[in-house]
């Protein structure tokens, strides 16, 4: 129950999922996991199961919607798509993320200068 770490992870995961759905349109969980894997390569070690908790949370906030459908290999699957509110949220969060990563990057650079 290490809440701190999971919180950061979840936040980023939420953002990644929103962005994925925004870019690729409706997808099922497996598809989202594949896309994230593809983009992140080997940099991010992801427990793919957490995608589903994230999806559930996003659903509860009303940022994505879910619908049962048929997958490309003719199996029953749940398809997720981003909602209007989700789009708005994505924009806010993306800006936020950039700001934070920018700050963190600068902070890290300062640390690095002193060390060298």
């Amino acid at each position: 129950m290490d809440t701190k770490r999971s919180e950061v992870l979840q936040g980023t995961l939420d953002l990644m999922i929103l962005k994925t759905l925004h870019a690729l349109g409706p997808l099922h969980g497996f598809g989202i996991a594949r896309r994230i894997e593809q983009v992140s390569r080997d940099v991010l070690q992801l427990n793919e199961g957490t995608v589903y908790t994230s999806l559930l949370r996003l659903q509860q906030r009303g940022w994505i919607a879910a619908e049962w459908g048929t997958s490309e290999n003719n199996r029953k699957a749940k398809f997720y798509s981003i909602t209007k509110r989700g789009e708005k949220q994505l924009q806010v969060e993306a800006e936020n993320w950039e700001r934070i990563s920018d700050v963190i990057g600068r902070v890290l650079r300062i640390e690095g200068e002193r060390e060298s």
Binding site: F30, A33, G49, T50, Y52, T53, K76, E93
Partner: protein
């Protein structure tokens, strides 16, 4: 922004939905993930991995399924309810797992809660809710007239009139006087308790009729004996008219006169006296007719015989109304000086009224409630102790749970859920006890005739009280253990790993404190009970001044059958003759008063020839109207002069017999006989002097008293009591009284037939109740405290087994170990006793008023109790100590 704790409306909705559809969600979510796993595995297989390995790799990549399910559940349900449900189930399992502990706890709780609920239900029906069915009953007050001596007295009809017409801070005012009535025709007469009331009685109490109507405008006027109408109670309607509407307008014979029923009171209304049920309400203006006394009783300002209820005007406070009344009464005392000189009046809340049962129950109920509270505290301490012991046993369990991430709050919640569950079980059992005792209020009343008691039973108020009690107990009892459980250091606990050498000094200290408090409370309860028991025996041993053994009494209400004085006299003469012929009967007499009745009896304003009363000296002297042979039968010694004879009747000059105290007060000089005394509008001649005896209660100081021949003064409205002294069995005498009175006149029902002994026991009921119930409560308190003390000592011994083993193996003698433990027990006992004695001394001041002929700090009882408690505490400690003495060092050291 995306905190987990965010609790938006949508999230709540999602949770609610999830909560409702929990299982379906579980399976959908599961399906989705299984699908994902499968596709992952398929991918691995496609890359050339063996199937088993692929499945494992898929699971690795996917992560912990169970954890995900947990996360999902947290998102989709109200964790709180789930946790509560889990706690409940877990508590139930834990509780069932240790049946011994559970049984002890529940039984203890049941005792405490049962006692408290029962006593509260008494208090509720007598003191807290004295006027059930009335609207805004808290605004209704009792008006009591005050005699010059400050004693309360009933109010006369004329005084009532003046109060009613002139008080501005009293909205409305009504008479209400309880009265036994003979209802029915010549074939079947039954005794029914009713109230004679003024026409606005139901308005004052704000009661609406169930059906029919209450007294109309005309029926409320002052015309005497003009309105023979009656309102009946719901239960009378049910039993006599089967709740039929045709009861309205039906004719009911009351005291041989036809009355028309005009209405039925609502079910919850029982009349105006707390705890008592009345069945009939008739206008007070019918009083003369009901008692066959004509009209004078309502026209004589001196004839004080009514109870008065007053509803305060809106906005008026009791204090304001009281002072307005006092000034009015003061004015009347001057204006009607011939009758009211020195009189006053006051208002009291109904529950403080001197009429009815609450007057005599207030003190015993207060004491009992206090004592049952003490028992409850001991119960709490005991439960807390049991929990602490268990918490120590479970400290490992708690330690592990904390280590696995359970928050302290969860543990506390778990504990209090457990206690609450125990408390609920205990309450259920306690309520069972209480409902079984629900009619028990009548135990508190003497064996005299009275309207039937309305059993308050377990209504919502009482149930609420019990529920609050359960919660309070759960809170009180779990504070200690909860603090203890959360303060426990995880690593320490786990390291200790069952090594009990010196564990938990803190919890030991808490337990010791609890045990000490228990002893203190038990000591308080015991000393209290001891004081009351001693006081009771003191009172019981007081000689009443007459011989109460081998005498049976029976009471007759001749006015209820509309006898006039002559008929009444004939009835008495015949009954006396018949009873005298019964085998074994040595003496028969009758009088209008039975000594040691709780009622105050009657008095008369006297003037004694040659005696000048001091200013505002109370010359209202209590008296008894007796038939010839009274003193012989009661074995009251005649000191001087003669007894009454049958010739002392209304056609002969009035005579009087006075007591020694009467003589001492009023005729200190020379000859007493033939001195004249003025009362009832004529001069009486003193013909005899008798020894003093107790009149109202055994504890009273000797007062002047006098006797007058019943045949000279008799009025049909007075009570009549027959006395029979027998050599044989008193029961037989009682039977013959019932039988012979029926033989003389079947219309006259005998009531209150009982041995005189029992009647007198009734006069002691307050003391007896206090003494016996307090003894029971004290015994419970003491047993519980002993169990608590024993538990603590026994547990410490078990904990220190290893230590004792070491001591013994290092050469300590068994008796050293014994001394060690007994010393500990003694410490609790001494500290507890000291605390208890201190507490009792603090309380003693308030107990003083209830004790007779003794002080509240009776040294014998204090020392006796202290010694008793210490000895028993030592015994409680000695049992585990003996066990410790026999510890085999080898076994103890290996014990792990």
């Amino acid at each position: 922004m995306s905190s987990r704790r965010e609790f938006t409306l949508r999230a709540v909705a999602g949770k609610l939905l999830g909560f409702l559809r929990g299982r379906q969600h579980d399976s959908e979510f599961d399906e989705e993930m299984q699908e994902h796993l499968q596709r992952l595995a398929e991918r691995f297989v496609a890359r050339g991995m063996p199937e088993e390995e692929a499945a494992a790799a898929a699971r690795r990549q996917f992560g912990n399924l169970t954890l995900l399910q947990e996360d999902r559940r947290e998102l989709q349900t109200f964790l709180f309810f789930e946790a509560l449900w889990r706690d409940l189930r877990f508590s139930l399992r834990t509780i069932l797992k240790s049946p011994g502990f559970t049984a002890t706890a529940v039984l203890t709780l049941a005792l405490g809660i049962g006692a408290n609920t029962t006593i509260f239900s008494w208090i509720h029906s007598v003191l807290l809710n004295p006027l059930p069915g009335a609207g805004q009953p808290e605004r209704v007050m009792e008006l009591e007239s005050l005699a010059p001596s400050g004693e309360w007295v009933p109010t006369s009809y004329l005084d009532f009139h003046d109060f009613r017409d002139h008080l501005k801070l009293v909205e409305s005012m009504s008479l209400a006087q309880p009265m036994a009535l003979a209802v029915g025709d010549d074939v079947r007469v039954e005794r029914v308790w009713g109230e004679t009331v003024s026409g606005n009685f139901f308005d004052v109490l704000r009661v609406q009729p169930d059906i029919g109507r209450f007294f109309s405008g005309v029926e409320r006027d002052d015309a005497q004996n003009a309105h023979p109408v009656a309102v009946i109670s719901h239960s009378f309607w049910h039993s006599h008219y089967n709740e039929s509407a045709s009861a309205i307008g039906a004719v009911l014979r009351v005291n041989r006169t036809p009355y028309t029923i005009i209405g039925v009171a609502p079910k919850e209304f029982h009349g105006s006296m707390a705890g008592l049920s009345f069945d009939l309400w008739v206008p007070a203006t019918m009083y003369g007719q009901l008692t066959a006394t004509g009209t004078w009783m309502l026209e004589d300002r001196k004839n004080r015989m009514f109870r008065v209820l007053a509803r305060l005007a809106p906005g008026a406070t009791l204090g304001q109304a009281r002072s307005e009344l006092a000034s009015l009464a003061g004015f009347m005392a001057k204006a009607d000086a011939d009758t009211n000189e020195g009189m006053s009046a006051t208002l009291l809340p109904v529950w403080k009224s001197h009429y009815g049962i609450q007057g005599s129950l207030l003190a015993p109920l207060t004491i009992l409630f206090g004592a049952s509270g003490v028992v409850l505290l001991i119960v709490c301490a005991n439960i807390a102790n049991l929990l602490l012991v268990r918490a120590a046993d479970r400290s490992k369990e708690f330690g592990i749970r904390v280590a696995l991430g359970a928050s302290p709050i969860r543990l506390v919640r778990q504990l209090s859920t457990e206690v609450l569950m125990l408390a609920v079980l205990g309450s259920a059992a306690g309520l069972l006890i209480a409902s079984w005792l629900s009619g028990s209020l009548r135990w508190l009343l003497p064996l005299t005739e009275a309207p039937r008691l309305q059993s308050g039973g377990l209504d919502s108020g009482v149930l609420l009280f019990t529920a609050a009690l359960a919660v309070a107990i759960a809170a009180l009892a779990s504070i200690g253990p909860a603090l203890h459980a959360t303060r426990d250091n995880v690593t320490e606990t786990l390291k200790a790993g069952g090594r009990n050498g010196t564990s938990g000094t803190q919890s030991n200290r808490l337990r010791s404190l609890l045990a000490t408090c228990e002893v203190a409370l038990a000591v308080t309860a015991l000393i209290g009970a001891g004081l009351f028991v001693k006081s009771f025996y003191r009172v019981k041993s007081i000689q009443p001044g007459f011989d109460r053994n081998q005498v049976a009494i029976a009471r007759f209400n001749l006015s209820a059958v509309n006898f006039d004085a002559q008929q009444a006299d004939a009835f008495c003469k015949h009954l006396r003759e018949r009873l005298e012929r019964q085998p074994g009967v040595t003496a028969v007499t009758y009088a209008d008063y039975v000594p040691l009745s709780l009622g105050e009896g009657s008095w008369e304003d006297l003037q004694v020839e040659g005696y000048v009363p001091g200013r505002s000296e109370n010359m209202k002297i209590y008296r008894n109207l007796v038939a010839p042979g009274y003193f012989t039968l009661m074995k009251i010694p005649l000191i001087e002069g003669r007894d009454f004879t049958m010739q002392d009747d209304s056609s002969h000059p009035p005579v009087m017999i006075v007591t020694r105290e009467f003589v001492r007060r009023f005729i200190p000089s020379s000859s007493v006989l033939n001195r004249k005394v003025y009362g009832w509008g004529k001069w009486f001649t003193i013909v005899g002097v008798v020894q003093d005896s107790k009149i109202h209660r055994l504890t009273e100081n000797t007062r002047p008293y006098f006797y007058v021949p019943i045949r000279q003064i008799y009025r049909p409205e007075t009570d009549l009591a027959f006395y029979v002294r027998t050599l044989g069995s008193v029961n037989e005498a009682m039977q013959s009284m019932r039988r012979e009175s029926q033989g003389v006149d079947a219309m006259v029902p005998a009531s209150g037939v009982m041995p005189l002994n029992e009647w007198i026991a009734g006069s002691l009921f307050g003391q007896r109740i206090a003494a016996s119930l307090l003894s029971v409560l004290a015994a419970i308190a003491f047993v519980l405290a002993s169990i608590g003390l024993y538990g603590v000592v026994a547990y410490t011994v078990a904990q220190r087994t290893q230590e004792f083993g070491i001591r013994l193996s290092l050469g300590a003698q068994p008796r050293d170990v014994l001394r060690l433990i007994v010393k500990q027990g003694l410490r609790f006992a001494l500290a507890g006793t000291a605390m208890g004695v201190g507490l009792t001394l603090l309380l003693a001041r308030s107990l003083k008023d209830f004790l007779v002929n003794m002080s509240a700090d009776d040294p014998l009882i204090f020392t006796g109790t202290a010694v008793f408690v210490i000895v028993l505490a030592l015994t409680a400690a000695a049992i585990p100590a003996r066990r410790a003495m026999r510890v085999d060092p080898m076994v103890a050291l290996k014990y792990e």
